[in-house]
């Protein structure tokens, strides 16, 4: 099993190293975005997976990191001394400082209270950013440019790629070390049973505040890398969707596995990149995928893989069995059905479509789907959608091992990943 892991890591490393040579600009930009999302999700998961604190407002620290970095970039541009490669540390510093204050408030309570407070704090930051145009640049945002540092040029996308890659590896090493450190043990203890940790002599509120601040710092660092990559920042960063995406990434990827959030970030960022071109409704697919993950694989994709790997090692299960094949077929059918229903409904409900009906004098133009034209008034596309969806769900219901989440203990995988 270890060898598989090492081979996988080697392939990933080779791909990341070879990308600037073989990859086109678009792919490189996508991978930069994935790496930034991965750092953000890893920082978020320190709080979520390790400390068990469900934050729903991490966009605030990400955005603050971006703005702080943009301001520093402008300062460098005006002749400041700060080295460009260390710019993400500015974002991290801003995130940390802000995280200390926000974390102190948020960690007064835990559980769902904590979740609500993080939402409200993020909204507070967002409201301030909206009003304070002088600092946050209003709708237009603020811009800056990358400055070269010594012999290093930072004008090309390739240079940004290398910088982001190096920072991602540093963050991973840091967080992995933190997880295994004595402090990491205290943090996991708090997740398990906070009261007991207090009776062991630890001031848990201070520990939680610090974890929150470190998590915010890593998020700010990711924001700093975004500033370097985009050379701009706007208050859109503070909106709820930023906080939502990092939760999606982490949960879909698996909070209990160290690299789970990275898997999630890669999947959703790629999906957003390609999906946005293919469909107006890609966010809905993402939302459905999230709900399905929470229902059927609460430990996320990474957790499911880790669990299967353990079962294979113990000789309990094959690496890939007929059950998995049936599962994939069911998933594909369900997804196909959803695509038909969502795309056709969405298209005929759009204003554009109504306008084209009017211009065609009441004739409903065909809806193009998967390369074919369908008449939305004929039952055919609806039947395909409903039958496919129904068949997919029927398979799931008929397969007892698919119907319910198998006793996958979310917390077990979390704790085991922590070791």
């Amino acid at each position: 099993m270890k060898t598989v892991l090492y081979i996988g890591a080697a392939i990933a490393a080779a791909a990341l190293l070879a990308l600037p040579i073989f990859g086109d600009l678009g792919t490189m930009n996508l991978v930069i975005k994935i790496m930034i999302a991965a750092i953000f999700a890893l920082g978020f998961n320190l709080l979520w997976g390790q400390a068990g604190l469900p934050s729903f407002g991490h966009a605030a620290y990400y955005g603050i990191g971006t703005f702080a970095t943009i301001y520093m970039m402008n300062a460098i541009d005006r002749g400041g001394w700060f080295p460009t490669p260390l710019l993400p540390l500015v974002g991290a510093g801003a995130g940390f400082a802000f995280g200390l204050v926000a974390g102190w408030f948020a960690t007064i309570r835990s559980g769902v209270y904590f979740a609500m407070i993080t939402v409200a704090l993020a909204e507070l930051v967002s409201a301030i950013a909206l009003k304070w145009e002088g600092l946050f640049g209003g709708e237009a945002g603020i811009r800056s440019i990358r400055t070269d540092w010594g012999p290093f040029s930072f004008q090309s996308t390739t240079s940004v790629y290398w910088l982001t890659l190096i920072w991602m590896l540093l963050v991973m090493a840091f967080l992995f070390g933190l997880q295994r450190s004595p402090f990491g043990l205290v943090v996991r203890g708090i997740r398990e049973r906070e009261l007991r940790v207090r009776f062991l002599g630890y001031d848990t509120h201070r520990v939680k505040t610090l974890v929150f601040a470190i998590s915010a710092a890593v998020s700010g660092l990711a924001g700093g890398l975004l500033a370097i990559s985009d050379e701009s920042a706007s208050m859109v960063l503070f909106q709820g969707s930023g906080s939502a995406f990092v939760v999606l990434n982490t949960v879909i990827g698996g909070a209990g596995v160290f690299l789970g959030p990275v898997i999630g970030a890669a999947l959703t960022t790629s999906f957003a990149y390609f999906g946005a071109n293919l469909s107006h409704f890609w966010m809905l697919y993402l939302g459905i995928a999230f709900v399905v993950t929470v229902m059927y694989a609460p430990q996320g994709i990474g957790g499911a893989i880790a669990q299967r790997a353990r079962a294979v090692k113990a000789g309990e299960k094959a690496a890939f069995g007929t059950g998995d094949l049936i599962g994939i077929v069911a998933f594909a059918l369900t997804f196909l059905g959803l695509i038909f229903l969502i795309e056709i409904t969405g298209t005929i409900c759009s204003e554009q479509y109504r306008a084209s009906i009017a211009s065609a004098k009441g004739v409903w133009p065909p809806v193009r789907l998967l390369g074919y034209d369908f008449n939305p008034l004929s039952p055919l596309p609806w039947l395909i959608g409903l039958l496919s969806l129904g068949a997919g769900i029927a398979i799931v219901v008929a397969q007892p091992h698919l119907r319910r989440p198998r006793l996958l203990d979310l917390v077990t995988t979390k704790a085991e990943a922590g070791k």
């Binding site: 070390g177 933190l178 450190s181 004595p182 402090f183 043990l185 205290v186 996991r188 203890g189 398990e192 049973r193 009261l195 007991r196 940790v197 207090r198 009776f199 062991l200 002599g201 630890y202 001031d203 848990t204 610090l210 917390v411 077990t412 979390k414 704790a415 085991e416 070791k419």
Partner: protein, 250 residues
């Protein structure tokens, strides 16, 4: 008797309008093993919770080595030298036995904010952790998650943690509750060994355990201490027999 470690004087506690404890005076000497017994509803748990800092007393003082500890928050109380264990096991289910105990020992060596394992102190922490694990006969299970242990083993981990914080005064809440006779015998030996040289205060229902383990016993009835004395004194005390032992327990 040697110097007093834990001293309660005229401690009262009321919940809403109900007075649960009235005027408790109790001095516990250094190195003493002291048991609190009494019929149900006598206020044992409340007294235990007051000493362990779960609530603050309504009035009166609780002193540990001459300093007031009444109403201190748990982590400060622990650092003042008072460690409590819980009746319902409060081990960390998803951490290994070693991690559970190390968490307690780390705090004792002042490594509450340590990000790196550097320095000789970590050898000492590991030694101490291993010693506690060995003392509880848990060495074979040291890498098992505490949640997967048998109940009595979890209790042993729980007590190891309380001791591991280096607390001078150890509070045990019904250490043998829910155990078989065999397990009980084992845990008594373990408690006696591990609390050697420390002060122990425990709430316990099982009279065999109390008379076996305690140096002195206080009998609580209706929120007051009826009598405090050695096990043999308590056994022969007429009032205790009437109030407590007499009514069907033995």
């Amino acid at each position: 008797m040697s110097a007093t470690t834990l001293s309660l004087s005229s401690v009262q506690k009321s919940f809403a309008m109900v007075r649960v404890l009235e005027a408790i005076d109790l001095d516990i000497a250094k190195g003493e093993r002291h048991a609190l017994i009494g019929p149900n509803g006598a206020g044992k748990s409340t007294l235990f919770n007051l000493i362990s800092g779960a609530f603050a007393p309504t009035s009166g003082s609780i002193q540990l080595n001459g300093a007031s500890v009444a109403g201190l928050v748990p982590h400060k109380l622990n650092r003042a030298g008072l460690g409590r264990s819980f009746q319902i096991t409060h081990v960390f289910d998803k951490l290994t036995v070693r991690e559970n105990i190390r968490l307690a020992v780390m705090g004792r060596f002042g490594k509450r904010w340590s990000f790196l394992r550097r320095g000789a102190v970590w050898d000492e922490i590991d030694r101490e952790t291993d010693a506690l694990i060995a003392g509880a006969n848990l060495s074979p299970q040291s890498e098992t998650n505490a949640g997967d242990l048998a109940y009595s083993e979890q209790r042993a981990v729980e007590i190891c943690m309380t001791v591991g914080t280096g607390a001078e005064v150890i509070l045990l809440d019904e250490p043998t509750a829910g155990m078989s006779r065999e397990e009980t015998a084992h845990i008594i030996t373990f408690i006696r060994r591990i609390t050697e040289g420390r002060t122990l205060v425990m709430v316990e229902h099982d009279m065999d355990v109390v008379f076996n383990l305690a140096d002195r016993v206080s009998v609580l009835v209706n929120g007051r201490i009826l009598v405090t004395g050695t096990p043999s004194e308590i056994r022969s005390d007429a009032r205790v027999r009437e109030a407590y032992l007499g009514d069907g327990e033995h």
